[in-house]
């Protein structure tokens, strides 16, 4: 997602202020003013929390990790052996990523990450989870019909490929290391990071080369 798109969205949603507030919007507004009045929250700190996950922490972090693992076999070894330490080399660590595990996809093994019970997701490398990841269809189906879900999302998994679904039921947080696409030989880490997507790092998509125009 480009910054441009992002800001357009933000502007669009900020216009919601002009309309009458809906149920949850009203309740949240009342709650914030109550908690502020009681000295329990500081609205400026709330802004800072929001800004962190809107602008600083997101899937571009994870893409850098994947790109380095593709470009540097020694780094990849470290990443698979101790994901937390290897990811922290970039300065990415903290809340909802304290105990990281990296799962390597191969031509014969495909890993898919889900949290059937809530929405566990590796924040420091992927940011906050998208709606579909938190939604009932994905949480219900990823474990019972991963091939069906992948197919709907555009990836047909051959019969001889093993699908491993990881249900994040504890505090381990999983990041998929996708297969490096052919045709990227000699690319720099920066170029590689450009093509790595959030969905590939969750395990529901492959990394593909951009279509030439």
């Amino acid at each position: 997602m480009s910054d441009h798109d992002h800001h357009d969205h933000a502007a669009e949603h900020d216009r919601e202020h002009d309309r009458p507030l809906s149920g949850p919007a009203l309740r949240v507004k009342a709650l914030e003013s109550l908690l502020t009045e009681k000295g329990l929250v500081n609205p400026k700190a709330l802004d800072e929390l929001i800004d962190t996950y809107e602008t600083k922490v997101g899937p571009r972090n994870g893409a850098k990790v994947v790109a380095r693992a593709w470009a540097d076999p020694v780094y990849k070894e470290r990443l698979l052996a101790d994901a937390g330490a290897a990811i922290a080399e970039f300065g990415f660590f903290g809340r909802q990523g304290e105990d990281m595990v990296v799962l390597e996809n191969t031509p014969k093994v495909r890993n898919v990450v889900v949290c059937t019970l809530c929405s566990c997701y590796p924040w420091p490398v992927l940011g906050l989870p998208p709606v579909w990841y938190k939604s009932a269809p994905y949480r219900a189906r990823a474990v019972i019909d991963p091939r069906g879900v992948l197919k709907e999302l555009g990836t047909e998994v051959p019969d001889d490929v093993e699908v491993r679904v990881w249900d994040s039921t504890a505090e381990l947080r999983y990041l998929v290391l996708p297969v490096r696409p052919a045709g990227t030989e000699g690319w720099s880490e920066e170029q590689l990071a450009e093509i790595v997507t959030r969905d590939a790092m969750i395990g529901v998509a492959d990394v593909t080369l951009p279509v030439r125009e």
Binding site: V28, K38, N42, L46, D99, L117, S135, R139, A140, R147
Partner: protein
Amino acid sequence: MNGAHDLGGMHGFGQVEIEKNEPVFHFPWEKRAFALTLASGFHGKWNLDMSRYAREQMPPAEYLATTYYEHWLFGLQKLLVEQQLVTAIELQTGHAEAKTSELRALQVSDVEPLLRKRRAARLDEDVPPRFRAGERVVARNINPTGHTRLPRYARGRRGVIDRDHGVFIFADTHAMSRDKKPQHCYSVRFTARELWGTDASAHDSVFVDLWDDHLDRA
């Protein structure tokens, strides 16, 4: 609890739809609900497992009919009242009856340290593991009315210990009584056929993170 949050294996919810160029938040109130939850948690009156349990207690029909941050809002309001940071009357009227002055609110300068703590649920306690990688186990058939991280679809199913993650806080007791009950947490591998029957792919499996107290030797 056997709640609506425990969704693994259910049918009928429809297709997974990925929104292109999805914003981090869809409405301003979602941002505030998210931040209020983290900032309220800063007071240390509850832990993450209690937060999850609070959301799970949203009545099932309501849980399935509402959006993600509405679950968060429900959980936050419940915890604020239960842990006596606000009263039910204050929540209803939106006006403070008294200031909770002894507590220090999260400040801007606290945000980075709060989000960049490197330890959460992992513990240093020297507790021996009950199982080793490669051992066959069966997930207990438990149906507690309280919090559990053992999903329904895995209960009573046989699997193999894939790896030992080390010693962690046990979420099930931590949510109910703050008892950390340090014990090993493992990735347990269940074949798709063990979980879903012979129609499932013979090659596939589901890995579930479970603790010693969820497992018996098979």
